[in-house]
């Protein structure tokens, strides 16, 4: 697990702890402890479980979301719910006189928190739509986070194969473009693997910038990318490939060590799918073509 977001939530974590502490102090000061025989352990497991799970949810919220409006609402809503759940739990240990104000008000924060969380979830939905739009050209109709390549954050070859199989059935004039960085090995050897990874990352951004909203870019293997161009006749695909290559040619990559500028070129191969095409033979054709174009250059 990655805990790098936790420090950003310092104030929110404090708030949650204060609310929990407040609940404990309130019930301690307003009643007396029960004796052992009075305690019902079944109730404690049930109510304690609710309180603990709310805390677990809060924890996952903190480690997975950066701060922001939606996060704040979720935290406040869950905290209110936790406050009620805690008071409910402490009830089992501490006796209050009948009709004490605390037992009357203890359930009020819970529905308030639930309403707030519902509103926050609606906001989350809105946020997700925005993120989906941001992910355009990186993602097709399905989301498989385990198939995202670690280096470039593009989807990997497995995702590509699955999506290509789908597209081959629905798209009429599908073009598939393969791009390969020239002399990437030399670059890696000279500047190190870490710089190589950074180059791949920045190149993938540049490729994304040059394709249309309906296209999908994936990292195939090593320094090789594949772009799926649905409903694209061959001439349009050739133009698009030329545009990508042109923009990479002008991309002035600065090395970390001394800010030296390194330019790169791409080799490319383009295959237009026909109706009867299957995934593997199509990829093989693409690979062969790329090798031919490399030998030619």
């Amino acid at each position: 697990m990655n805990y790098s977001l936790l420090p950003l939530h310092r104030t929110r974590i404090c708030l949650v702890l204060c609310i929990a502490l407040a609940a404990i102090l309130l019930s301690l000061t307003q009643g007396q402890l029960k004796t052992w025989p009075e305690i019902s352990w079944l109730d404690i497991t049930g109510e304690g479980g609710v309180a603990v799970l709310t805390l677990v949810w809060l924890f996952f919220l903190f480690v997975s979301r950066p701060p922001g409006r939606v996060t704040d609402m979720l935290v406040v809503g869950l905290s209110c719910f936790m406050f009620s759940a805690l008071l409910d739990l402490l009830d089992e240990f501490i006796r209050q006189e009948n009709g004490h104000w605390l037992s009357v008000v203890e359930s009020i924060p819970a529905p308030f928190g639930m309403i707030m969380m519902t509103w926050a979830l609606y906001q989350w939905h809105q946020e997700q739509l925005t993120l989906n739009a941001q992910l355009r050209r990186r993602e097709a109709q399905s989301r498989q986070h385990h198939q995202v390549d670690w280096v470039t954050r593009l989807y990997d070859a497995d995702y590509l194969r699955a999506h290509l199989a789908k597209q081959l059935q629905v798209s009429h004039s599908l073009s598939v473009l393969m791009l390969d960085i020239d002399n990437f090995d030399q670059f890696n050897r000279r500047y190190g693997g870490q710089e190589g990874d950074r180059l791949l990352r920045e190149m993938s951004e540049l490729i994304l910038m040059n394709i249309r909203q309906s296209d999908l870019a994936c990292r195939y293997a090593g320094d090789r990318f594949i772009v799926l161009l649905p409903d694209t006749p061959r001439p349009a695909a050739i133009t698009l490939a030329a545009q990508i290559k042109e923009s990479i040619r002008h991309f002035a990559f600065k090395t970390r060590e001394n800010g030296e500028t390194v330019f790169h070129t791409l080799s490319s191969a383009l295959v237009s799918a026909v109706n009867t095409d299957q995934v593997e033979p199509l990829l093989q054709r693409l690979n062969r073509q790329l090798e031919l174009s490399r030998q030619g250059s």
Partner: protein, 342 residues
Amino acid sequence: MKAYAALDDKYFPAQQIAASLIDLAANRGVDRNKLLRGTCIFYEDMREGTSLLCASQMLRLMANARQLMPGNDAAFQLGRRLFPGHYSQASNLLLQSQNLRDAFRLYSLVKMQLFPFVQTRLYRHEQCCFLLLDDAIGCGNEYQFVIETYCAALVSACRLLLGQRIPFHFDFPFPRPRYIQEFEENLGYRLRFSQPFLCIRFDQRYLHYACPQASQTLRWHALRQLHRSSQAPRLGFLEVIRQHIINDKNTNLQEIAAALVISPATLKRRLKQHGTSFMQLQDEVHRQQALYLLHVKGLNNEDIAAQMAFNDIPNFRRAFKRWTGSTPSQARLSWKLIDFSG
């Protein structure tokens, strides 16, 4: 110092392959403590650059890396980084290879420092060279990772030394993997899977292409330095035993134990520790020999039986069936099928 290295002999410098793998995993966001768990490798020792590792530690590290690193390219990336790498003495020598043939010869001198897991034997037949690979030290589950690393290192090292790509043909015994793209990207497209034995094939003329940067003087210096400083063993444990079996087909456990100056019981125990037994190794060696003579040299049963010192043909056929699961004629047929489609 012994002439060979077993799984748990600490002889090989940590800063070479272990450091490469640890850096590679760190670049892929793997937690270093998790990566080193169970390996008894300490990062602090490694930075000092003095610690020596044994093969089983390295294999454990590979297992962890395979499990923790995202993607399927860990072995290939590691292979690409092995040479020239950081371990200067061995790489300095290899960098001065006159040609590929010389490179293979020099590699056999320093391989225990660079990559002690694979045993390689180079055969020539007609216009082709055949590089046969074997497990030198008992790699167990990591053998495929080791093979992938070795092949990637071979391709990238030859490219670096000769300044051009050599068209290697790879025959792998395992089935076509799902991540075929990594094989193609790193090894090229001349790949066949589910083959009878692991073999790398290339045209003989590449052996004599001169390496452009090589210098005779520097080569001589590097060799001298190596001879002066090196006490490392030259061979892996399984490799030594295979060598004995190849040299004398009818050798037995007692003879080998005597040659290694250990008791037969110890030899048995050590073989078990390396995940194999004498019988199994003997069968493996003979199987590989028979398949090579049959598939590569295209010999008929009589000639193979004669070359492998069998008294009669039925005996040979029976043994062949035991090694490979099929008769020689069936094996010939299946090879042809593969050749036509591939």
